[in-house]
Symmetry: C2
Subunit: 224 residues, 2 copies
């Protein structure tokens, strides 16, 4: 399978065989704006890599900076070690939002409304100190925008214990389903209930460790 | 690396090198009850497999039946084709719940409260018609318990288009963090806000396609 990118212009990522679905092609997009929006609403990804020939999928926090994804971890962790040499490490980074259960009259048409991004490529360890600073701030700001300005940055000992890997977004696509419960016409008269159940991720009221410290501006996005 | 299971008794899955974390060992468990509870609260997993030597991670619906996980897909999809021969396909199935943002005074101690399960093994295509029936019902019931009894089951044409793969739970562990914002003692007097933000997944009010069909008992778990 060739994975040489086919340039599709500045507003889209390149389409390759492995980012082109074989089914539900209308659910796929390579548009940067759509892909970035799905990524930016998330802070947890599922990082896939190959260890001893077998797949490993681990949940971990990530950040997007422009067309780069960053993932961090302990310097001793498997993915960080795997990406630390010049060859880097082949990864797949997947981000998924579930938006609704789609419950139809037939078992077969049941589905889930979702938005997902799948990014393929080779991850490399970040060694440039400036890029490391940017990445570490972004990893905090991906969770709560603006938070990196209101905390103590990493000290040299903490920096030495932390590794960051970079995946350049290049071979990446998004897939979404946002439709209703589509029953087959021949199922229309069945007595079974069909419809959707919306699913949302809710961030609750911040619970402070010390109630004497006022809630900073960057925390006011959460309900009070 | 040896992956021969070490039997740790009936209430636990066997511990192997790749299900034994190198860090935060106290966050890991191999107890069946804990692992099953995390799986049963979910219906979307991230399925990892290797294609042309590279990792692929796709979100997909799953079901647990006893100590087996089932994932389904179109007969033509990559993971279904990959698991269709006698050798099966090496997979990693990961399920993650995010429970809270953990926001500390230092960037380094930031964390996420979560519960995750990572299952390694070889997946095989289900060919036995009885097992297939059980698996397809479970895939619907994992999303809404009891729903498989209130819908039209798959007809022969739909069955022919659907493949199901089975992963025997064996090399599997859970990892959880459920602690507060643990600042370093030397950070205690810093003026920065620290604390947690609870995160929940909320299922909303069912939106029927046809309002004349009453809500069945299995749908009454959702708010009205």
């Amino acid at each position: 399978m060739s994975t040489t990118p086919t340039n599709t212009g500045d507003t889209s990522y390149s389409r390759t065989p492995r980012t082109t679905p074989t089914r539900y092609k209308d659910r796929a997009t390579w548009e940067k704006e759509a892909i970035h929006a799905i990524l930016d609403e998330a802070y947890v990804c599922h990082l896939g890599f190959v260890a001893d020939g077998a797949p490993v999928v681990l949940p971990t926090v990530f950040a997007r900076v422009g067309s780069r994804l960053y993932v961090h971890g302990s310097t001793g962790s498997r993915p960080m070690r795997g990406a630390s040499d010049e060859q880097g490490m082949q990864v797949c980074v997947t981000v998924t939002h579930v938006d609704a259960l789609v419950l139809t009259k037939s078992a077969f048409n049941h589905s889930v409304n979702f938005r997902s991004v799948v990014a393929h490529g080779t991850a490399y360890q970040v060694t440039d100190p400036e890029e490391l600073d940017v990445a570490l701030a972004a990893l905090v700001d991906q969770v709560v925008p603006g938070r990196s300005g209101g905390i103590r940055p990493a000290n040299p000992k903490e920096l030495a214990a932390t590794a960051v890997i970079r995946l350049e977004l290049d071979e990446v696509s998004a897939k979404t389903r946002s439709d209703g419960a589509n029953d087959d016409p021949e199922d229309a008269d069945l007595p079974h209930w069909s419809g959707i159940v919306p699913v949302t991720t809710v961030h609750g009221t911040p619970e402070p460790y010390d109630r004497n410290i006022p809630l900073p501006a960057h925390m006011r996005r959460f309900p009070r």
